[in-house]
Amino acid sequence: MSEDPHGMTRRQLLRHTAWFGAAVVLTVASGEVISHIHTPGAAAEPVVDDPNALRFVQVSDSHIGFTGPANTAVTDSFTRAVNQINSLPYQPDFVIHTGDLTHLSTPAQFDQVRQMMGTMRAGGHFTVPGEHDSVDDAGQKYRAAFGKGSVGDGWYSFDLKGVHFIALVNTLSLEKLGHLGTDQIEFVRKDVAGLSADTPIVVFSHIPLFAMYPQWGWGTDDAAQVLNLLRRFASVTCLNGHVHQLFTKTEGNVTFHSATTTAYPLPRPGTAPAPAPVTLPAGQLADALGIREVGYRQGSHSLAVKDVKLA
């Protein structure tokens, strides 16, 4: 193995580069915060001009029904996300909402989110539940509103333009951390059994599948069992919500991307006594909210991820 002058092995260098190179690169232009996450081999842009490319949008943590001072108009914020999606210069193949659609799992809140997502101009609409979507019924109302086509407690998978997508539920059977459970792990085992190792895999979940900050429950206790099943694949991308802030991490063949929210920010890990909603100074809230565009061109190694603040 070749070593660079600083004594770093090529593998270490790659990992180092992944850490910073894949980090969200943030810049401010025209008042807009834009982050591009580039990994080696990824398309430079989310391939907006290529109709054969896969293009989808991730939104997360809309918390419809939240009324606290951190955002007194979460429905307006989510409406802006809808309008932003509908203003894209392309129609996304689908929109994925990675959970906490509602704040308190009431039928009215589910109905409102369902209707609002229905106005998003996209080829399809997908969701995974957050713990706020199963406050008092282990997800029954969530599944009644959004569970069509799912199996088990709401998980499912699908293929699109050469990419295999797996949508997981890790917000039921909680104790401290997110939990998948043996049924769901078995589902993944069978689901990926027939796939060739060069199939790009994208995994959606609400709670991170990596240990972002276990003290606040920002991790999934049995995620390693699923990640082990995905170890043979060349490219695995895990997209989650829950933490209301951007964060990117690469571990071997897997890249994790935590998304921000359309509702209100949470503190950075460990910087507050609890992950309670953060009320920002007037005028700064929009900078913390956003949507994520993801693109993939067949033959590329990994996905291009672009986080855009709410317009």
Binding site: E32, H36, S105, K176, Q215, A224, R268, A274
Partner: protein
């Protein structure tokens, strides 16, 4: 819309600098370097709630924690939980236990009368890192 995209070859130092700036101005968290991964505990089973059980029949919910986190009561005691946070919480047994509060908004209470001895662990389903227990003695 004008967009200035910083190339991925941006040096680590500059990226970290930008991240710090972002942090200071309240913009979204973006820098992986701000989390000390080495300080994270493993993903093993969660530890039981800290502290020895306290003889008390009221539990306050404040700052995303049950206090006291462990209480001890005699059979027949009614325990009252009061949510003092601005965020909603629940009092929900692990597994098939008896505690099953509705969503408790600010100032709302939940009461449960324990009729059998035992240890009853519970959590908030909305913030499941909030764990606690009631020990019921004969």
């Amino acid at each position: 819309m004008k967009k200035l995209v910083v190339a991925q070859r941006l040096s680590a130092v500059l990226a970290a600098g930008l991240a710090l700036t972002a942090c200071g101005s309240g913009t979204p968290a973006t820098a992986p370097s701000t989390v000390d991964m080495s300080a994270m505990p493993g993903m093993s089973m969660a530890a039981p709630p800290a502290g020895a059980p306290v003889a008390a029949d009221t539990v306050s919910i404040k700052d995303f924690a049950f206090a006291p986190a462990q209480v001890r009561v005699k059979v027949g005691t009614t325990v009252t939980w009061t949510n003092g946070d601005t965020e909603p919480h629940t009092v929900t047994s692990n597994g098939n236990g008896p505690l099953k509060s509705p969503t408790m908004n600010t100032g709302e209470t939940y009461k449960y009368t324990f009729t059998v001895p035992g240890r009853f662990e519970y959590l908030c389903t909305i913030h499941p890192f909030m764990t606690a227990a009631v020990e019921v003695t004969a």
